[in-house]
Each structure stands twice: as C-alpha cells, then as structure tokens.
C-alpha cells in the first residue's frame, strides 16, 4: 500500500477531476459549451412539450422546470458518469494499488464542475425573470443540495464497483434514471397528481429534494422541522451505508476488470 497523507490524495483527486473535465470535451468543437447546451436543449424540449401539449401551467412554469432539471441533471450526470469511473480507470487499478475512492470522488467532482456552470446559467435565467428567492429559500436550497450530494455520491459509491462486476448495471440504470426523472415533480407540479398517490412519489429520493426546493423558492413554503430531521437521518444513513458497501466491494474490483 502506498502510504501518503490526505493532502496528497486530495491533490490526486483534484488533478484527476481537472484533467478528466478537460478531456471530456477535448476533441469536440464547442468544448465545454456542451455542458451548458445539453441541459438547455433538454429544458427547451421538455418545457415545450409540457406547456404546449399537456397544457400544464403554474406561476413561473419555466423556472420551475429549470430548477428541477438543474437538480436532476446533477444526479443523473453524477451517477451515469460515476458508474463507469472505476471501469474506465481499470488500466490504473490493475497496475497499482491506490485508494479507489479517489477515482469515484474525482468523477463526482468533475460533475460538480458542470453543475456549477449550470447553476450560473440558472441564476441568469432567474435574474432575467426577475425572481429573487428569499434568504430562507436559499438556505432551504442549500440544505437540499447537501442531500442531493449525499444521494448522488452515495449511489455512485454503490454503482461503480457493482458495474465492474455486472456490466448490465448500466442498462438497468439508464431505465431507472428515466423512472426517477418522471416520478419526480420536475416537468410537472405535484399538484397535477391526485393526492393519494403523492406518497408513492416520495419513495423517489429526488422527489423530496425537488419538491421542497421549488416550494421554497416559488411559494415560500417550507416543510416542518421534523421533515428536515427525518431526511437528514435518512440520507446520511444511506451515505454511510454506501461507503461501507464500497469499502467491502471495491477490494476485489481489480480482479473483475
């Protein structure tokens, strides 16, 4: 085992994230502009479909979709990109022993870079529309952002070593991502669903994140304190569990590559 201090590991994580980000768009004409264009294109398509065809409407309909998509895109990018992280770095893992979490973490940091660009664009859209969320809504958003990070990184920690062993996971995950997207109130408001089905929607971890964030920003309504507490315990338990799973699963990862 290579004994190095934590700062060296952090340097490696950061450097891998940085170079991967650069490499991702290295041979494309528009470069990292794609990281903005793609979500914007999806946003345009979805808002067109749901506004004009399904005739859904609410105050600031577009901004609601944009906020929901911003959160969802982070989750979907993070997991689909992170899923492949261990396998794509297989040439490293089979040749040298170094902490495998570095690879997973660097892939999520990579997505965070895209996310920060997307968040800037969202802010611009908010400013154009003249919507300025309250301080409380911002704090609420920050809280759910941390939950989003936990669920995304936690999922990657479970998916990445699993994918090395079972290559079907990527196909299954592609479908699951669609289920997660359409069962969360991203492109439609939760009020469009009969109330007795709401509890099923909340099985989806993204539902509470998206729903409460949007409610906070646009309606200035916040869940009661016990919900915050419950969600904190739930998501951090999942996160810790994912670390434990990763720790035991990743030991044999190089043998399956």
């Amino acid at each position: 085992m290579i004994s190095t201090n934590l700062s060296q590991k952090w340097q490696l994580t950061w450097f891998l994230a940085k170079t991967d980000f650069k490499l991702r768009y290295s041979n494309s004409l528009l470069g990292f502009l794609w990281s903005m264009l793609k979500p914007l294109a999806v946003f345009s398509i979805l808002s067109f479909v749901f506004q004009n065809i399904f005739k859904l409407s609410a105050s600031h309909f577009y901004l609601r979709i944009l906020t929901g998509l911003l959160l969802f895109f982070f989750f979907s990018e993070c997991t689909t990109f992170g899923l492949n992280s261990l396998l794509s770095k297989g040439h490293l893992l089979t040749k040298i022993d170094f902490p495998k979490w570095i690879i997973v973490l660097s892939s999520t940091i990579n997505t965070m870079m895209t996310f920060s660009i997307n968040i800037l664009i969202t802010i611009i859209f908010f400013l154009i529309a003249g919507v300025i969320p309250s301080i409380m809504a911002m704090a609420n958003f920050l809280f759910f952002l941390i939950l989003l990070l936990m669920i995304s990184i936690g999922s990657v920690f479970i998916l990445a070593p699993l994918f090395v062993k079972f290559r079907d996971i990527s196909q299954i995950w592609e479908i699951l991502i669609l289920v997660i997207m359409y069962s969360a109130p991203i492109v439609y408001p939760l009020t469009a669903i009969p109330e007795q089905y709401h509890k099923y929607h909340f099985i989806n971890p993204l539902t509470s994140i998206v729903y409460y964030t949007i409610e906070g920003i646009f309606e200035n309504q916040y869940p009661p304190a016990y919900i915050y507490l419950f969600l904190t315990i739930l998501f951090s338990t999942f996160f810790i569990l994912s670390l434990l799973i990763f720790n035991s699963m990743s030991k044999k990862t190089p043998e399956y590559i």
Partner: protein, 294 residues
C-alpha cells in the same frame, strides 16, 4: 529434476531454505552451526518482504464478459466453474537492500505475484507482510493519458505513484532531462513516437520511486542504445543503494544475472528454486529444455 540437482554448485532447495527462514528456532540453530554458514549470510538483514504460503486462484470464464444473467444461472451450477491456481503456496522472503529476481515461463505466476505484493490483488490464503513503503512498476506508463501533454502526464503519473505536487515540481526538470524530451513538454503524448512515449514513461518511473521497496516488472532497457545505457546506469545506482529493496521480474536473463543477488524460479504457480542467479538460470534453462522435449 532430482538427477539434475547434483550438478549445481551451491544449491539451496526452495523447500529447505524456506523452512529455515520461517522457523526461528531452526534458523537460530543453524546460525550457531558451522555447517549452516552458507545460510547464515542471508539471515543477517531485516526481512522487508515476507510471503508465506500464498495461494491465489482465478475462476476461468469461457466468456470473459460477466453479466447478471450469468451470475444468476451460475448460482445453480457454481461448482462447475473451473479454477486456475495462479499461485500455489508461494513462500519466500526478501531482505533489506536485496535485489531479488523472479524468473519463469509465461503463465508461471510471476506477474500475479507482483500484483499481490503491490496490493492490487488480495490473497485467497496465506500472508504477505511488507515492512516499508512500496513503489510498484508493473507496466510502463501507468496513468498516462495520450490526450494529455507530457507535462500533465508527469504530474498525473507522479500523483498516482504517490508523490505530492511539490515533490513532482522539484523532480520535473530531472524527468524531462532524463527523457530527453525538452522540446516536447507541452506536446500531447499521442503525437509522440513510441520511443518517446516509452522514454517519458520510464523517466517518470525512475524518478517517482521515493520509497524503499520497489516491485519492477520487465521495464528495463527501452528506447535506443543511449537511453538503454542510462537506464542500466540508473539500475546500478539503485542496486548500490543498500536501503532500496527490489523485487524484479524479467525474462532478460542477462540483466537478472547482472543485478540480482538472489533469484527465484517459478513454474506453474509454484516456487521451483531460490538461490544465486547463476544456479537459478541453470534451473530455468532446464525447465525450458524439458518443455521443449515434450
């Protein structure tokens, strides 16, 4: 094998030597015994790499691609999965400052052994104890990415090998000078010739080992003659540094004979012989000859 043994000069059969090293009471007895003097010399130094009855098996899939479906079906006929024993009760010790060679035919378990020493694979049974920090070079250019420049590759490889950014910065010029790539620092590696690529990879490997124990798998002698000479020179300086311990896997019998203090011969995942490089090469040649006859 039995009749052949007699012709060697100072033969220490692997089994006998191992039993001496692993049982402290018997080694003590031999130290006091004048008859055991030939063994005494290898008992003096601190043991830094100790491998004790290590077994490693790999399942052989007829289809390399593993999938969920296969796994589900295999639960009912799991016993039918064929197992390949890559390492079979491998036992040896390497002392501090020693240059330890490993030779053997392809598929003999050498590379698997080195991967296990490096911590990439876990042992099915047995123990590997390593006393010190290791640097392993199982392949040239681990971590190198053709889409990055030479500069970026030096940083990424250095970081992967366990150096800090400051350490890499201080060694950066040395690496560039050694690789003779001064004019190509900011050129993407994919535009390099294969010789340039290998030179860069080797230079990184040479300068990245800040640790005491090195595991090297056939990376010696690459590039043109000039560069080869520099590499041999570098190897010699590692050998002269008594703090560095090297486990060296190679097919190049010339460099094995030149550098190694002791050599282990592996055959079908088992230790066939451990002894001086001269004797080991004789054993190895005999294995090769025997296989030719069959």
């Amino acid at each position: 094998m039995k009749s052949g043994k007699k012709s060697y000069k100072r033969i220490i059969p692997a089994r006998e030597e191992d039993s001496l090293i692993h049982k402290p009471d018997s080694s003590l007895r031999n130290n006091g015994n004048p008859l055991g003097s030939s063994i005494k010399s290898i008992q003096q130094n601190k043991i830094v790499v100790s491998v004790d009855k290590v077994v490693k098996k790999f399942p052989i899939y007829h289809q390399k691609y593993s999938s969920l479906k296969e796994e589900l079906f295999n639960t009912f006929r799991k016993s039918k999965v064929e197992m390949l024993t890559a390492l079979n009760k491998v036992t040896f010790n390497v002392e501090q400052g020693e240059f330890f060679g490993v030779i053997g035919r392809n598929g003999g378990g050498k590379s698997t052994l080195l991967k296990m020493l490096s911590g990439v694979y876990l042992a099915d049974s047995g123990n590997i104890t390593i006393d010190g920090n290791i640097s392993s070079f199982l392949e040239l250019g681990v971590g190198m990415n053709p889409d990055l420049t030479a500069r970026e590759n030096i940083f990424i490889c250095g970081l992967v090998l366990g150096l800090t950014l400051d350490e890499i910065k201080s060694k950066f010029d040395d690496i560039i000078n050694f690789s003779e790539l001064g004019n190509f620092v900011d050129v993407k590696v994919k535009n390099f010739s294969s010789g340039m690529y290998v030179r860069l990879a080797f230079s990184i490997a040479i300068y990245a080992h800040n640790n005491d124990i090195l595991f090297i798998d056939e990376v010696l002698a690459v590039g043109d003659d000039n560069f080869k000479l520099k590499c041999v020179e570098e190897f010699r300086s590692i050998k002269e540094n008594k703090n560095k311990t090297v486990v060296f896997v190679s097919h190049d019998l010339y460099s094995i004979e030149r550098f190694c203090d002791r050599v282990m011969v592996m055959e079908k995942g088992m230790v066939k012989f451990i002894g001086t490089s001269y004797d080991a090469i004789e054993v190895y040649k005999e294995i090769l000859l025997k296989n030719k006859e069959i």
